[in-house]
Subunit: 262 residues, 2 copies
């Protein structure tokens, strides 16, 4: 399978990053994950526009525009692939000297890679726990962009797996629910659908954006989460997934008869 790296389509095994890439050394970059279904890109404009916007938050110049990114993604999914694929685009500030100071003229790294994405409806609904080892930092611009700094999310996921569950709800530093480890959350309480605001540390996901007109943005404490009838995880790859339980408390799947069913 070929990947796209800095203007070239090369076999993944031959694609290589310099050891000085600031994406590797410092987490200095952003990424996007988009779905391709039956050979079509899903919400490509929204995804690539967001990627460029998020790169701009870190002041990383990107020498490709949305059209060029779409063309590249199309070419990648033209390879023999599964019906459902995930396209991950990673942009880092590129190679740099030791230390934090960004290079004056960064040669950014742009990597695009396609992987098979299984249909989430074929796997059982996830059991969730509220993460205790880590909080999401709503006081950082990084909580609002898809940066390469996923250490907190990995810690939360490892905690969830260690407890025999599938995923974790991450609270922000004020104790309000922010997101799951790689998904936004929507919570059904008493017939109303709520989702944490971006100011609480929710990453502005594309699927979240599409569901937003049907939901109320509201800070959700632990007590709200434990009163929820249903909790949905949303992401471009997952779509809308109802969770099975939170901290051992069973949740309902009201997906089919609820208006959020797209």
């Amino acid at each position: 399978m070929k990947v796209f790296l800095n203007g070239e389509f090369i076999e993944e095994g031959a694609a290589a990053l310099p050891v000085t890439d600031r994406g590797f050394t410092l987490g200095d970059g952003v990424f996007d994950t988009m779905l391709a279904a039956d050979g079509s890109l899903v919400d490509a404009d929204a995804h690539f526009n967001r990627l460029l916007k998020h790169a701009a938050v870190l002041k990383i110049p990107v020498n490709m525009d949305v059209e060029a990114l779409k063309k590249t993604a199309h070419r990648l999914i033209g390879q023999p692939a599964s019906q459902r694929a995930a396209i991950r685009t990673t942009v880092s500030r590129g190679p740099g000297e030791r230390g934090l100071t960004p290079p004056e003229s960064p040669q950014q790294t742009i990597l695009m890679r396609v992987s098979p994405a299984s249909d989430p409806s074929t796997s059982p609904p996830p059991h969730l726990v509220i993460a205790e080892t880590v909080r999401r930092n709503e006081h950082s611009p990084l909580s609002r962009i898809k940066s390469l700094n996923y250490g907190d999310n990995i810690l939360a996921l490892m905690e969830a797996r260690g407890k025999g569950t599938d995923d974790a709800i991450i609270l922000n530093t004020a104790g309000k629910a922010a997101c799951a480890t790689a998904a936004n959350i929507f919570v059904l309480i008493g017939g109303e659908l709520f989702t944490p605001p971006v100011s609480d540390g929710a990453m502005p996901g594309i699927t979240r954006q599409k569901l937003l007109p049907k939901a109320i943005e509201k800070s959700l404490g632990i007590e709200d989460m434990m009163e929820a009838d249903s909790i949905y995880l949303t992401s471009s790859i997952l779509g809308i997934r109802a969770a099975k339980s939170l901290n051992g408390r069973k949740l309902l799947d009201l997906y089919r008869n609820f208006p959020i069913a797209a």
Copy 2:
């Protein structure tokens, strides 16, 4: 110049990371920066013991022990180099499939690289600002380890540079001072030396550890910082550096006649 990468010494230009390395894709790793002066490693045991401890926090196995790491570092600084050099050792969880789930049998990446380190006393003392764009997350274990997630610190440094200063003091989410962007801080107020506790988001630096017996660990608010007579930045590469100003307010350099002079 050669680097050490996964058991081999190779020319830096030929050293390459797979595009699936989780250090690059997710910030899933840790690092250490150590000083070598006149061909000797400074505090090598403390540095490499800490690196292994920090990798363990992320449950990343490391197939080298402290002795092997020291031997490698010695071989690297045996190359024609400057009198002062920085040795950066980076450990990531290695290549992984798309998504956050760590591989069951990770093949970790171990990279060691040496760069010239200028003598900090030859550059003017840094002007500081208190970062306003970002807060440090003292509620995350990542604040206590040297992980690859340096996005917040880069944002704070870019803010400082954008304001015409050299470095930033980063507050934690409770508004207490935690650190500079790549250094610990010690603050002299009324003849007493204070430093933020690790629970406030201070990374347990090796130089900090050595100075700790001479200081009092205490939470420091903005008002404390603005009353400081002197502020020192400490790191293995910087040593102990007195700052010149904070938010435009001049600071004294009491270094020479103060007991912290090592």
